[in-house]
Amino acid sequence: MTEEVIRVRGLRMRYGENDVLTGVDFEVRRGQVVALLGPNGAGKTTTIEILEGFRRRSAGEVTVLGADPEDADEDWRARIGIVLQSWRDHGRWTPRAFLSHLGTYYAPYSTPERPRPYDVDELLAMVGLENLADQKIRTLSGGQRRRLDVAIGIVGRPELLFLDEPTAGFDPEARREFHDLIHRLTDMEDTTVLLTTHDLDEADKLADRILILATGKIVAAGNADQLARRVNRDAQVKWSLNGQDFVHSTSDATAFVRDLLQRHPNVENLEVRRATLEDTYIALVQSIESGQGIAPIDAFAEAG
């Protein structure tokens, strides 16, 4: 269970004079769902494309499923799945025909433990496209098309799945259905997932582990709770007393509330709020962008 599926050490990427990645280190273990979170332009897509073998890195060590993606062979490719952001390819095809065609490329890699490809009808049902299976892809809505993208990404029953901004442009319902799908995949198939997102809520809901990428490196890593506690140990306590509202920040909310209630038994609307992932993230990005954030961030990176 602790096998490393992805291992990245000192990954650097430079386009001309511009350093996009300045030393990225992380690993992903089998069965984990890891979210790479960061502001636009932080290098999320670059990182994932290097891991997919779609882009050559400038420096560093990268191992994905035991191979260097830069010179991995087609057998390696059969074990990974990539959810692409398509927009208008294969418009004349139907989802059924297209999935069946792409799935056929994986047939030679079928094993008893991992039959490949997925049965097309099963897959269409999984992504909720069974009623649109024989319509032209061109006629699908943006959200339906994304679900087809996901189906294509997993048609080869991958051991490792990459998703780059998977729910960009989804409405809330489509987003929730997509999250259910990812949970089903990781539960049933023991699929390892690496996704990029700038949606905090999504990272929180899907990921076992969140990596925050900013200024070309991983500035924080952990699950949502760990991240929130690290950036801001204080909790906010809100209450009202005699019609007046109060707010207080404290590192020991329990002691504060016990004391508060002893002194003022008629406190109303009491609310204790931990820093959310969003608070954490915004605090981090702001401190980095203002150039002040390096010291505290490095401090808790060491703590992790």
Binding site: G81, Q85, R92, T104
Partner: protein, 284 residues
């Protein structure tokens, strides 16, 4: 069967499926009808003329030349525009993400682009045979020659189309990289008037490219032996035709795998994304 052979077979099936889809697509059907109307209409307007100083009818000589030129047009512009488009719309990336997907993709392109020759030739040839007297080859040998000259056009031109489609920086450049050289060759390859009417250096230039030779090969298949008198050296130069087309085939087949591999290596999601954003800006 190994995975690569399996992928190539899968790609061949895709090529055929694309061809069938194209035959059902109103857009593609209109394109066939449009080129047919243009070509047959042109011949119809010239139906009472003779070709240059000869006693042959204009349609009789020009129809085979046009068919040769259309072979080049289809086998060059077809893969060029398909690749230019499919690099940008994410099609190629799909196949790059699948095991041996690129091998399958290229196999599919060969089938698709080759199959498209049939309807594009048929829509011009069939009405011409009905409308104009004396355009059909007189012998079985003539019909057979049409077949093998067309077959030779495939390895001579299609790989070059794939190479140019790989090198072309974007769909918007298809005019400059595709149509412009085609139009220039149409003008200088002895299709609408004898090549010998042009300056010597233009004649030499035209004889470097397959379009002239495919036109010549088609004329030799359709026309009586005596019509060779209209050609350079008064001969059909069949051996030279085969040699020139074979030379293009050797060059194309040597270049295509390398160029295609290099192009595939460069494909990435962000490239597709950039193309999409550029297109959106361009449309606005």
């Amino acid at each position: 069967m190994n995975a690569r052979t399996h992928a190539i077979r899968n790609g061949l099936r895709r090529g055929w499926a694309e061809f069938i889809l194209s035959l059902k697509s109103p857009q593609d059907l209109w394109f066939y009808l449009f080129t047919a109307a243009l070509a047959v209409g042109y011949l119809w307007l010239n139906r009472n003329n003779t070709f240059a100083d000869s006693l042959l009818s204009y349609a009789e000589v020009t129809l085979p030349s046009l068919l040769g030129a259309l072979l080049v047009f289809g086998l060059y512009m077809g893969p060029l525009s398909t690749l230019a488009m499919e690099k940008e719309d994410g099609t190629l990336l799909r196949y790059k993400a699948a095991p041996h997907g690129m091998a399958g993709y290229v196999a599919g392109q060969v089938v698709y682009q080759t199959a498209q020759i049939l309807p594009s030739i048929a829509v011009i040839l069939v009405p011409s045979l009905l409308l104009f007297d004396g355009v059909a080859p007189e012998t079985i040998g003539g019909w057979l020659k049409i077949l093998w000259v067309s077959a030779l056009a495939i390895p001579a031109v299609l790989p070059i189309g794939l190479v140019m489609g790989s090198l072309i920086p974007g769909v918007q450049k298809a005019g400059t990289w595709g149509m412009l050289p085609m139009m220039a060759l149409f003008g200088i390859s002895g299709i609408f008037f004898p090549l010998t009417n042009l300056w010597g250096w233009v004649q030499t230039l035209a004889q470097v490219f397959p379009m002239y030779w495919l036109g010549l090969g088609m004329r030799s298949a359709f026309l009586p032996e005596a019509a060779a008198a209209l050609e350079i050296g008064g001969s059909w130069r069949t051996l030279e035709t085969v040699l020139v087309l074979a030379a293009w085939a050797v060059v194309g087949l040597a270049l295509a795998p390398r160029v295609l591999r290099r192009m595939a290596e460069r494909q990435s999601g962000s490239q597709v994304q950039t193309a999409r954003e550029e297109l959106l800006q361009w449309v606005r």
